[in-house]
Symmetry: D2
């Protein structure tokens, strides 16, 4: 699959001509496709747009195809502590998610909703959402996110809404227009990377995916330069949810985090 | 209705002690309650948190209770051009939405979903989403949003997901944790401002609403100071969706906007 | 707009050849389009399939275009008791909804979600959901429902899910495959009845809409013949939610209904 | 966990006194909890209501805790044909789903949405949705479904909407009020079976779950006695989606099914 060559050329040129530097940034993208490597993923085809742009401006991009890994379901950081023999996620979190400035969730649509590997990753990310940084902000503060979705038919907006909701709920920033998707007309039909789908030629999708990528880059740049989300009024250290009459305005020093939602 | 006095005091103190200035900012909040003034709105009770904080740091806050106005349904800027005799929305848009740096959508939950006035406002806001600024960015770029929701039972997350989806889709930035809501246990029960609801005493909701407000303020401050969302890679002027082989990399001067989604 | 003539012919022939009688049944369909009559509605174009079939088998079908009426928002049966001067809904409910065996909710998609008139009608229907029949069952028991949705792009499944959820929650039966919809590919494009949309030629949508209609007819026939949903185990008279240790197994005679959800 | 003893007693008495027989019916319930046996599942606690009622009226009930089995993600009937070494689902489908008249999907709420094992089961059920019966109806026609959901907070309606949507879309009948759920107030809190949750004492949830169960029983009885959903107007044999001018009214004999959605 290829988006039309002059669109591809334009996107590349725009990346090459960018005056701002992004080569200190890292991104991790989870692809919730049901297909294991090396089977081609339609969603991965659309992901070539953000991958191209981000790579060309110097961002280190890691793409994780969830079904290629042993990732048990669960809402605890390490599922080997809950009866599973293997769990690749703690290492993925430590090596790829924690250091990333950009966190994108991509995947297919089934029955108008997220595929199970997409929900799985959201659950596993959620397990770390109670961690806090030195300012008492939750750990995903400072990261910037987006959703990339493909399906042969209907559901791009619903999947995006659920994914973006989850991202912002755990502390990720959602820049303008980060619900990038393609799907065809109602009914059975070609998927994005199928030769006759029209997906790669859909300029609306290519444009939105391009805009999304730049908006993510802009916000990641701003937040990295600002040292994260400004730390005032949003510190868990200010609130002790176990106390009937918190918050405790006296308390300002880092300590044990209160539990996350 | 009152949140506990020491929480109220803490919130006020935090606002008063903020070192950053916000008095050049404006906010508009739409409340989609089904009750017309002067009937009290439960959602408005919870809105007292962002209103208090924003007002005390100098933001000019306009609260619009949708059902108090004559606002016909439609996805055109002015519905008097489509057969309605009256339409208050064009003036609301011009006077309150356009100049606002912060755009929040609040409202109740019915059958687990948004109230009709909430969808109405989203439709009317959408009608202006094809306008562009000088850089060719859509008109909501640079605004920062959030959702505030109350119900007697279940639905806060679903309503938030739909509202935040709509906001980011038209170009609004969604900071971390801007899905502030309260609802009670499953089944019939008290609403937020009812004396025994427990809503105002729910420290989780008060904390999240406080964090949401500060996160919105931080991002509104950043974007205003930056002159909006950085204008690179996200200009409608770069793409001509009517052309088979756009974008047009030669073209860079402002002109007619391409149509929005 | 026309579906292809031989599909139209087949649908009509099938209706004419049905051996079961349906001429004692009534249907009401709410169309939540944003366009007032006589502007054509795309959703109404797709509704011609269920209307054709139901009419030809003898069902009396009433189509209500919500925006053609004065229907204030609210969750009370009559909004003139809540400050509105006019309210057409009580008469619509009494004349069309109450006597109907079939209750369908149709409408367009905006930003991937229901139009405001759709949520409005759901709110107003909800206001009557606490009424009970002689058996103590809620008033919508025995009615059969479905959703018909059109949009130029994406959202048919999400809108259907929300509409069908609301219908079953208030007591309507949802037969198999009653989420009939059409929408085009991602991005701006033609709506259903536009000459080049491909909608009327989409056999998947025509087939599903036909199946939906027959499934609704089958269940309406069954439930009418059975005198409604069998009345055992589902009577509000058995439960007194205000009592700490209900239900009251002694009590079996009709009396005041307990309040609905 | 126990619902209050006199509610439990009432439910049991009602089941024992039912005059209709149900002992020729089978039910399968999938529980999408993230916890593997023998860890207790909150959702399973609420499932004791439908299990009690159905078992006492003679229905054979099979409960499948998804995470106790090896069930790879995918939308094909047997994932061992797609690179996985093991797949328990084909046997589960053949032994439990195919012969069942009742198909319920239960599970927890995470971030306001379905758990990944719930989406997984929906995907796997979907893989069989193109099969047809002798009348050319899709294979789930004639089955009756419902959703049972628990969470410590918010999301019961959204999860129900998505689950019931999927069920009806593949051909399952959704009786009135089959969205049974419990969740607590906004914010962290006890789950259903926790000693102080209030869940088992929530009469609204117990009542709805009871009503749901009887409504499912009524419709399963009706459809079994009727030999399934009446087979007129809803046969895939009537439509050849690959033909530009189907349906083919001449063709009425069983043959190859057209592909499902």
């Amino acid at each position: 699959m290829q988006i039309p060559s002059n669109i591809q050329g334009f996107i590349e040129k725009q990346a090459d001509e960018a005056s701002v530097k992004y080569d200190d940034l890292r991104a991790v993208i989870f692809n919730g496709t049901l297909k294991r490597s090396p089977e081609p993923s339609h969603t991965e085809a659309l992901l070539s747009i953000p991958q191209t742009i981000m790579s060309r401006v110097g961002v280190k991009v890691d793409l994780v195809r969830t079904v290629d890994h042993v990732i048990p379901p669960g809402v605890w950081p390490d599922m080997t502590a809950h009866g599973y023999e293997e769990d690749d996620f703690p290492k993925i979190y430590r090596d790829l998610v924690e250091p990333a400035h950009i966190l994108m969730i991509a995947g297919p649509i089934w029955l108008g909703d997220q595929a199970s590997p997409t929900r799985l990753i959201i659950e596993r990310l959620y397990a770390y959402s109670g961690d806090v940084n030195d300012a008492g902000q939750w750990s995903y503060y400072g990261k910037v996110g987006g959703a990339v979705t493909t399906g042969n038919e209907d559901g791009g907006k619903h999947v995006s809404a659920q994914v973006l909701y989850a991202l912002q709920h755990i502390g990720v920033t959602v820049p303008p227009q980060t619900d990038s998707y393609w799907n065809g007309e109602a009914g059975p039909g070609d998927s994005y990377a199928d030769p006759m789908s029209g997906g790669p030629e859909n300029a609306w999708t290519s444009r939105n995916t391009t805009f999304m990528t730049w908006n993510i880059l802009h916000f990641a740049r701003i937040l990295k330069d600002a040292g994260g989300v400004p730390a005032y009024g949003n510190s868990t250290y200010d609130w002790d949810l176990s106390m009937p009459d918190h918050p405790n305005p006296e308390y300002r020093a880092p300590s044990e985090p209160s539990s996350a939602s």
